[in-house]
Subunit: 360 residues, 2 copies
Amino acid sequence: MKGFTVLVIAIAGLALTACDRRPSAGKTTAAARGPAEEALMTRAREIFKPIPASPPALPGNEATPAKIELGKMLYFEPRLSASHAISCSSCHNIGLGGADTQSTSLGHRWQHGGRNAPTVLNAVFNTAQFWDGRAKDLEQQAGGPIVNPVEMASPPAHVVEQLEGIPGYRDAFAKAFPGQHDPITAANVAKAIAVFEATLITPNAPFDRYIEGDAKALSPAQKEGLALFMDKGCAACHNGINVGGGMYAPFGVVAKPGADLLPKGDKGRFAVTRSPGDAYVFKVPTLRNITLTAPYFHTGLVWDLRQAVGVMGASQLGAELSTEEIDRITAFLGTLTGDQPKVTAPILPPSVAATSRPRP
Amino acid sequence: MKGFTVLVIAIAGLALTACDRRPSAGKTTAAARGPAEEALMTRAREIFKPIPASPPALPGNEATPAKIELGKMLYFEPRLSASHAISCSSCHNIGLGGADTQSTSLGHRWQHGGRNAPTVLNAVFNTAQFWDGRAKDLEQQAGGPIVNPVEMASPPAHVVEQLEGIPGYRDAFAKAFPGQHDPITAANVAKAIAVFEATLITPNAPFDRYIEGDAKALSPAQKEGLALFMDKGCAACHNGINVGGGMYAPFGVVAKPGADLLPKGDKGRFAVTRSPGDAYVFKVPTLRNITLTAPYFHTGLVWDLRQAVGVMGASQLGAELSTEEIDRITAFLGTLTGDQPKVTAPILPPSVAATSRPRP
């Protein structure tokens, strides 16, 4: 038997060597993966879905090239803010994982926002927008920060007035919304920004390649992390295409974190539904590109992803994760970083003498 | 004689029709242009130069692709500011003619800068940088706003510490500055930003096509404006490749503007040279892309380009320009807008747990 075992190992070694020569993006066959590998992949495929290669359609908001281009201009348009100094991209920086590096963002007159800026990347796949889910989709979300007094602080009437005062936008809106008599409206601003934001998806993460059949896309440690992520219960909330973003959960299912991480004043979704059961309930955030978007949680007060994993284990699952387990899970989370969007900075139409001026 | 005149006009009309059929980008021959046209073009060519198609080399600062790419990252890097909320691109927005739409920019803690943000576009062709010319080139300029307390407000020592705390920058600097033992230095930050900024040039403006020989690149009104621009004396200061940017001049050669446009407290180049003759002397700004970069002057207090032309006529030339002259000159200035840079927003290396945090 001993000789036989050695032979099997030798053959397995040869097979592995052969495998190593294959391009890493290649798919492995079920037979080549072996039963344990196969079970892990099958289980993962039941819980998660890959980011698609192209943006999903938005119901009732056709993504024409002219509308996407307009949405990109508006996304980068500081003149949508009262001060002309803040745009969507100020806090949702495409170069920084679609977020910023603040606990809570700096807005109008250097005021801090109420909660950590969530990433715009893959936000289209979330079940709702904002930490408390108060916007049902990107279109409903997009107008919020523009008029929020601590963010971009534009008086609502000012948004349309501002854009109408910039001649180049008349053309851009006419092309994006053909046939409309008066296309520069707050509703169309939101529609255009939404179709642009829907393009900000990050396919082709190692984890996506894995659930699409490439067993070698994850290292052994990352696979152990994936197994722990499912075994420990993380995937009960962080699942689906966005590994999160699909449901609401109390912060503190098992043990409420201290007021440092869960300040008493912010009751989360309770402010939206007024239902006592929604106190301290928040949207489960996506973990896509999570290594790019520190700091973490709705307060943005945890800067270390490993610490965040530990807090989640204790507060949500009642599990005291070991250092090694945290390392493995964090290694797995690193596989959720996909191809970042390639966005050419838009050239914005110039102000003219009659354009509204900043009100800092 | 009358019949002869009519014939000449008819032939000229035919010639014009024939010309109209030629592609507008084509060059016209001297014979086709006629003597008056030819004289105008010859004179313009003696005074101005076109923006070249590719960026100029910077002495002692080779523009390798790795260094340009690093420079682009740093240009868009808000973590170079104390707050992590302000980058070079905040005030020198490539989508807004390389400037912002503020009289003076908003910086750290919502403080206003001292002077209007000059455009970064074609800045490489200026004889010196800043309104008072206190930096001799882009490299010397680039580090200034990063540590200026009212702009990005980074303590000087913090710049290197910040970048060293972001693992991805170690690689990026090593590639940009091969062979250096410790390439993350403030000097290299400035070098990299400078080579990126040198790529931000805007060739192919109608006026460039004109001085390169395409007489049809300018309309008759624009040509009249060009002639006025030279006849009235504007071109005495606004000349060369940048139609400005090549010399210093007092604001108020003939008549000092009021304190609204020339506040007593800002003596311009005097602060650099301490020479009494430099009181209220400023660098003559480039007029390239001038229609994109309102508001105007070092105070940024004039929002209408036509008004700015009028002020310049009165204060610099002692000329009371007529409405029609201002219209013509403004029409000419519109021909100075070139192809705007196509810049793909850089993906910045992520912060990690050990990275320095914002200090808002």
